[in-house]
Amino acid sequence: MNNKVLYVEEKEIQNELASIRNLMERSSKFISLSGLSGILAGIYALIGAAFAYNIIYNYTSLPERGYVDNGAQATGLFFSSSYRMLEWKLIAIAFVVLVLSILTGIILSLRKAKRKGQPIWGKTSRSMLFYMATPLFTGGFLILIFIYRGHYSIVAPASLIFYGLSLVGASNFTYNDIKFLGLCDIILGLVTACIPGYGLLFWAIGFGVLHIVYGSVMYFKYDR
C-alpha cells in the first residue's frame, strides 16, 4: 500500500524535474532553429559554388589560371575587360545564395517555433541574433573593404572565419552543436588562408558540405 503511494510520488517528482529542465532550456535557448534549413543552405551553397566554378573557369584557359593577391595577379589572368563582369557575376551568385539561405532559415524556423510553442521574436532569438550579427557584419565590411583594395584572396578565409565566430557566439543561445560547426569553419578558414587559390573549394566545403552534415545531425536530433 505504502509502496504504491511512494511510486506515484516518485513519478510526479521526476516529471517535475523534467519540466524544470525543459523550462530552463526553453527560457534560455532558441530551440526553434531548424536543422532542415541548414541542409538546404548547404545545398544552395554547393549549387552556387558550382556556378561560380563554371563562370571562373570558362573565362580562362588552363595556363592562365591563378589567383589575385595584394592587387597583383599571380599569373596573367585578370584585369581584362571581362574581368569586371566576372566579379559582378560572382558577387550576384553569393548574394542569391545568402538571401535564399536566410529566407529558408526564417521560414522553416517560424514553422518549428509554432510547433514548439516558442515565440520566434523572443528574448532568446534576439540575443542569438545580436551575437551572430556582430562578427558577421564586422567580417562582411572587412571583406568588402579588402575587395575594394584588391586583396581578393582574403574573401574565402575571412568569410569562413567570421561565420565560424558568429556561430560560436550564437551557440550560447541555441543548440550546442552549432559551436562545433563554428569551430570547424574557423579551422577551415585558417587552412584556406595558408593555401590561396583554393578558396572556392574550401568555401564549398565550409558552407556546403559542413552545413549539410550539421543540418542532418540537427534534423535527426531535434527536428522530429
Partner: protein, 101 residues
C-alpha cells in the same frame, strides 16, 4: 526510512513559483511579459507569485522604462539560487531513497 521532506523549500511548494525560479536561475534577467508568455499564466497570478519570491529575498526587481513603457525585469539573488539548488537536491534525494527501498 527517513525522507528529507523538511529539506523541501516551502516557498517552492507552488508549481508556478518553482517554474519562475527555474527561468530566473537559467537567465541573468527576465522581463515580466516574456515570463508571462513563457509560463502561459495571467498577470495577476504571476505578479502575486513574483511578490512572494521577492518577499523571501529569492529575487530582486528592477524597474525601468523603455521610452514610456514600464519594463520590469527580475533577477535571482544568490540566496534564491542556493535555495533553488537545495530544493532540487532534496527532490533528487527523495527519488534516490525511494529507489533503494
Amino acid at each position: 526510512m527517513k525522507i528529507p521532506f523538511e529539506k523541501l523549500d516551502k516557498a517552492f511548494e507552488n508549481r508556478l513559483r518553482l517554474q519562475i525560479m527555474s527561468v530566473l536561475v537559467a537567465n541573468d534577467r527576465y522581463d515580466f511579459n516574456s515570463l508571462k508568455e513563457l509560463l502561459e499564466t495571467t498577470d495577476g497570478n504571476l505578479a502575486s507569485h513574483l511578490k512572494g519570491l521577492e518577499k523571501e529575498e529569492y529575487i530582486v526587481v528592477h524597474k525601468a522604462f523603455l521610452g514610456r513603457k514600464p519594463n520590469t525585469t527580475y533577477e535571482s539573488t544568490d540566496k534564491g539560487k542556493k535555495a533553488f539548488k537545495d530544493h532540487l537536491d532534496a527532490l533528487e534525494q527523495l527519488i534516490k531513497q525511494q529507489k533503494k527501498t
